[in-house]
């Protein structure tokens, strides 16, 4: 089990299926289990392709709102989750309840 941070709300999650996950990684959590590690390189690559595609319109839009599934960040309870002050998660990734 590990701790994950859903934009401020911290919960336990089982990380057994993606043992390669590191502190600070983004993961997708479904019913308490991490089912995917979000690949930052791929995320940025997609956005880059989209940004390059056409440039017809500059107008801001106000209609976009929140969608459904929010990625969560792997963290522990009290320590910073990334950067120089980060410490390893208390629950070993890959452990079970």
């Amino acid at each position: 089990m590990g701790k994950v941070d859903f934009g401020g709300v911290r919960k336990d999650a089982c990380l057994a299926y993606i043992p390669e996950v590191q502190l600070g990684d983004y993961v997708i959590i479904h019913v308490g289990f991490a089912i995917s590690r979000v690949d930052e390189d791929e995320a940025l690559k997609t956005l880059e392709i989209l940004a390059q595609m056409g440039d017809l319109v500059q107008t801001e839009l106000a209609t976009m709102g929140p969608g459904m599934d929010a990625p969560a960040v792997v963290s522990d309870d009290d320590e910073p989750v990334s950067g120089v002050f980060a410490t390893p998660a208390t629950g070993a990734p890959g452990g079970r309840a």
Binding site: G7, K11, C14, A16, Y17, I18, P19, Y26, I28, H30, V31, G32, F33, I35, S36, V38, D39, E40, E42, A43, K45, T46, L47, L50, A51, M53, G54, D55, L56, V57, Q58, T59, E60, L61, A62, T63, M64, G65, P66, G67, M68, D69, A70, P71, V73, R96, A97
Partner: protein, 393 residues
């Protein structure tokens, strides 16, 4: 939030819509498989921003909606027993069975508890050794690893007062059933991103080839859906029919092997009945023989339960995309999220609930299509539409 806000960027959204309009030369019919995708599409008005003739059919990928009435009635029969603590994901509680629902049963004194994860149900079983704790194991491939883990843990730790009422369904056989139907109109699928995160997409390759349908593994944010639609239409326009991956940041071709291993350790593939669709061969999971003692259906002898749908509800035709909620006489009148007749109105992922919360067809609640500003080049006033779902919270 990182990786999230960027995928809601309105400037990029408009670029994608412009590009979709630019490459589209013919009418096309696409289906988004997953209810989470339906929710984003309807809420953001993405379907209304597409070129004329490009139609989104909302697929059957809402676990609450496709759980057959029989299973709900079995759940009700088990939950009504005084020796049982019945546990479930929250969205199953209001799904109407033949006569009542789990929430009403709870109000009448039954011990029905909402859990966030099946492991929470296990904890309840450990804490209440004198009770039978039953977990309603529903869902698609996304919840299967979690539900399988709970059963495997119960076996490993000898938690014998725990059992599961299984109603697990699989996406690819449902897609095949739709494609085989003579009434089928779907020319391309947006596959469900999180199902594919677990299972990968190798299962979809033979389907794309055999039925000559482009399949695009797609995420859940507005930009994900727009890019998925663009990729699907591009394939259709070019006469290709491949499996492509829009959701590369979360999905790998092979999926998550450890999760698959856990699923197939506990479950095997079998026929399943789908609410509104009927029985589809090899379309769900059931417990393997060595875990049969955790099967709540046999433990509580509820196998022989008969069912009856509400006569006004057209949930079946909505789940297969033949009709929309606007074709239903009960939509918004007899049936609303506070008092749902059928499952698609219960879950926030259901098509009827998505239409309702977007105010569609409810007497001009939304006279101006929310999609229109996406297509205007002139500066626009903030046109955020009232969001009944958020307002209700």
């Amino acid at each position: 939030m990182k990786h999230l806000d960027e995928y809601r960027d309105p400037v990029l959204a408009r670029k994608l819509i412009t590009e979709i309009h630019r490459i589209t030369t013919r009418p096309w019919t696409l289906m988004e498989v997953c209810g989470g995708q339906t929710h984003t599409i309807v809420k953001q008005g993405i379907d209304e921003a597409l070129p004329e003739g490009v139609r989104m059919i909302h697929g059957p990928g809402c676990p609450v909606c496709v759980t057959p009435l029989e299973q709900i009635d079995k759940a009700l029969a088990i939950a009504a027993r005084p020796d049982v603590i019945f546990t479930s994901y929250g969205d199953m509680l209001r799904v109407p069975g033949s006569t009542t629902d789990l929430l009403a049963l709870k109000a009448r004194g039954a011990d029905v508890r909402i859990v966030y994860s099946p492991l929470d149900a296990l904890k309840i079983a450990v804490a209440n050794p004198d009770k039978e704790v039953v977990f309603f194991a529903v869902g698609f491939e996304t919840t299967a690893p979690a539900n399988a883990t709970a059963v495997a843990e119960a076996a490993r730790r000898g938690i014998d007062n725990f059992s599961v009422l299984v109603s697990h369904v699989l996406v690819p056989p449902a897609m095949v059933a739709l494609l085989e139907s003579p009434a089928n109109q779907v020319q391309s699928f947006l596959a469900a991103g999180h199902v594919c995160a677990v299972m990968g997409w190798t299962e979809y390759e033979p389907i794309a080839a055999k039925y000559r349908v482009p399949i695009v593994v797609t995420g859940f944010e507005p930009l994900d859906l727009l890019e998925g639609i663009l990729m699907a239409i591009r394939q259709l326009e070019e006469g290709r029919h491949e499996v492509e991956n829009q959701y590369a940041r979360a999905v790998k071709r092979e999926g998550v092997p450890l999760a698959q291993q856990q699923i197939f350790d506990v479950f095997e593939i079998g026929a399943r009945k789908w609410r509104g669709i009927g029985e589809i061969p090899a379309s769900g999971y059931r417990l393997r023989a060595n875990y049969a003692r955790f099967d709540a259906e046999s433990r509580f002898s509820v196998g022989d339960i008969h069912t009856q749908e509400h006569p006004a509800c057209i949930a079946g035709a909505i789940l297969t995309g033949e009709k929309t909620p606007l074709d239903c006489t009960a939509y918004g009148t007899l049936c609303n999220p506070q008092k749902p007749l059928g499952a698609p109105m219960v879950s926030s992922e259901g098509t009827c609930a998505a239409f309702f919360s977007a105010g569609r067809g409810l007497g001009g609640l939304r006279t101006l299509s929310p999609a229109m500003p996406l297509l205007q080049v002139a500066p626009i006033a903030p046109a955020r539409q009232p969001d009944t779902a958020e307002a209700a919270r």
